[in-house]
């Protein structure tokens, strides 16, 4: 059984039907990406998984347990961490304090210290800025902080919402290299991206979401080669 299984998921925002029967699964150890245009429902899917939204129908199963409708603070303890869209760093708190909050649910001080060290090795820029308010970091550094902070919860599944948003191409490349590194170290990742090109390069599996429906699902390399995807999301060449 896959680590995460979503079956016939429906989400409504009032009268708006945002997700219509989304079904997808994430195998342990993989990077799975969810691509699609603006308003396709990518962020909504992530928020439903992490408990920030309550689905109106369907099931979400994580590690064999039903998790739909459960509040986010319980899910973090189960091993699900979410780096929200727009990064969502705590701007007035220092980088150090942001990282501490990432480990909020953990009680093993030694393990947290070791993981902090790992995160700071992964993102050396953060070490240089430990005592700086997170709001004074550059966009790329804030994204690194958001990912690092989520990693400190020691998740089994990391949900990343548009890590490339608003970043220079050079920085996007760095971030994606690190995403691959995190995955190689054993963390399963569900990656939501508009930058389909980069996302399909690092992912094992891909799903294409269009106005609330999954329209394609395949190995990432197959999707990257598919004419439909190339036309719609990869600039058509």
């Amino acid at each position: 059984m896959a680590l995460l299984e979503i079956c016939d998921l429906d989400v409504h925002y009032g009268a708006i039907h945002a997700l219509k029967g989304v079904t997808l699964s994430v195998e342990a150890g993989q990077i799975v990406t969810l691509i699609g245009g603006n308003g396709a429902g990518k962020t909504t899917t992530l928020r439903a998984i992490s408990g920030l939204l309550t689905p109106s129908a369907g099931q979400i199963t994580f590690d064999g347990k039903r998790i739909d409708g459960r509040p986010p603070h319980e899910l973090v303890r189960l091993g699900l961490a979410h780096a929200p869209e727009g990064r969502g760093v705590f701007a007035n708190l220092t980088v150090d304090e942001n990282l501490d909050l990432g480990a909020y649910t953990r009680k093993d001080a030694a393990g947290v210290a070791a993981d902090r060290d790992k995160v700071l090795r992964l993102f050396p820029r953060l070490r240089e800025r430990l005592l700086q308010p997170a709001g004074t970091l550059s966009g790329g550094e804030q994204q690194m902080l958001a990912i690092g902070r989520a990693l400190l919860a020691r998740p089994r599944l990391l949900l990343l919402d548009e890590p490339s948003l608003g970043l220079a191409p050079q920085v996007v490349r760095t971030i994606f290299d690190i995403i691959r590194e995190i995955n190689a170290a054993g963390t399963t990742i569900l990656l939501v991206e508009q930058n389909a090109h980069m996302a399909l390069r690092v992912a094992h599996m891909g799903y294409v979401l269009e106005v609330g429906r999954i329209v394609m699902a395949d190995r990432a390399s197959v999707l990257a080669a598919s004419d439909d995807v190339r036309k719609a999301y990869l600039g058509g060449h």
């Binding site: 603070h73 973090v76 909050l101 947290v112 800025r129 004074t136 550059s138 902070r149 220079a168």
Partner: protein, 367 residues
């Protein structure tokens, strides 16, 4: 550094001693000095002023836990003050009758009367915390303006309820015959609860303030407190970190209400004040909000400075009493124009001169 961090997560006795017991001892000593040296030297006018300052500091710093730390907007703090004041007043007033047959101040320092007063403060604080829980639980799912309206409503409902209470019973024979319920509803109504013995001293005010300051500062450095701050910074991200935001908002509310209740209890037993529903209405709540905003939302030292300023200023502007509120309002408008984050923003006074490392222009690299 890693070792220090691990130690901070599991505080040893030495740590507790240096961060909680030690400072409290220092406050105890300070309170003694104030009471035994400063008060006799300064005279009754300044004694009353010192008590007012301390009580307002308690109110401002406790409200800061909700409005500043957690980023919620409560404008019903005087309501919690009223709960604490009336409960503590009833405990000492009727308690004194039952124990000693008269409401007069009984015993000396730490004598029977003082202990009864301390118990009253504690019970008042607990009742107030309970009220904070009751108000907080249903309403903290609300945000911003909506929460403000609910807290305002709470204060007003309380005021009207207190105005409906019966006259204070002051005849010993009647008190002997009264049931506890009759005593609890004889709180003076619109005229106010008169006859409460004057147990509040500079000493007790500063002991309580010391307690609150230690709680507040320790909170700011702890992971518990950072959970409060994270809600102010970004509620969704806080949820995503695994923080039960509703529970923490209620906790902040309860903690703030507890200390507001103690402040109310001190106020109720202060010389020259009458506990009166009108006195603890919207205007008082608003005064406390002003202190927090002026000091800077989230700055403990800012709340202290603002509370001192806004207590002392009106005292020395007494001749212009009519203009007091105009000056108040004007100073706030000027403040909002030139320093919208308050005197110290979210930082403490001593952090203003310490430059955050790497905050030089070169450190703010573009993406």
């Amino acid at each position: 550094m890693l070792g220090a961090r691990a130690a901070a997560l599991r505080p040893g006795y030495g740590f507790v001693l240096s961060r909680a017991v030690g400072p409290f001892g220092a406050f105890l000593a300070l309170a003694f000095v104030m009471q035994l040296v400063v008060v006799p030297w300064a005279g009754p006018f300044y004694e009353k002023l010192l008590m007012d300052i301390g009580i307002n500091c308690l109110l401002a710093v406790s409200l800061n836990l909700v409005n500043g730390f957690t980023g919620q907007f409560s404008i019903g703090h005087a309501g919690f003050m009223a709960v604490g004041g009336y409960v503590a007043g009833a405990v000492t007033y009727y308690g004194s009758f039952v124990l000693w047959g008269s409401p007069a101040v009984h015993g000396g320092f730490l004598g029977g009367g003082d202990l009864l007063f301390l118990a009253g403060c504690l019970v008042g604080g607990l009742f107030s915390a309970g009220a904070g829980y009751l108000v907080g639980l249903p309403s903290l799912r609300l945000r911003g303006d909506y929460l403000a309206i609910v807290t305002l409503g709470f204060g007003e409902i309380l005021r009207v309820l207190l105005q409906q209470t019966n006259d204070v019973i002051f005849v010993p024979a009647q008190i002997e015959a009264a049931t506890p319920w009759q005593m609890a509803t004889a709180l003076g109504g619109a005229l106010g609860f008169s006859g409460i013995p004057f147990y509040t001293t500079v000493f007790w005010v500063f002991v309580m303030l010391g307690l609150l300051l230690i709680v507040a500062f320790r909170l700011k450095e702890s992971s518990e407190g950072r959970a409060f701050l994270s809600i102010r910074e970004n509620e969704i991200a806080a949820e995503a970190m695994g923080i039960d935001t509703t529970r923490y908002k209620v906790r902040a509310f309860v903690l703030a209400a507890f200390f507001a209740g103690i402040a109310g209890a001190l106020f109720a037993h202060e010389t020259g004040t009458t506990l009166n529903p009108r006195e603890l209405g919207f205007q008082k709540s608003f005064d406390i909000v002003i202190m927090v905003v002026l000091g800077g939302m989230g700055s403990i030292s800012g709340a202290l400075v603002a509370a001192v300023l806004l207590t002392v200023l009106p005292e020395f502007l007494r001749e212009f009493a009519d203009w007091r509120l105009v000056i108040y309002a004007l100073s706030l408008i000027i403040m909002m124009r030139f320093r919208p984050q308050g005197l110290f923003g979210i930082r403490e006074i001593w952090e203003l001169w310490r430059k955050p490392p790497g905050a030089s222009p070169a450190g703010r690299g573009a993406s």
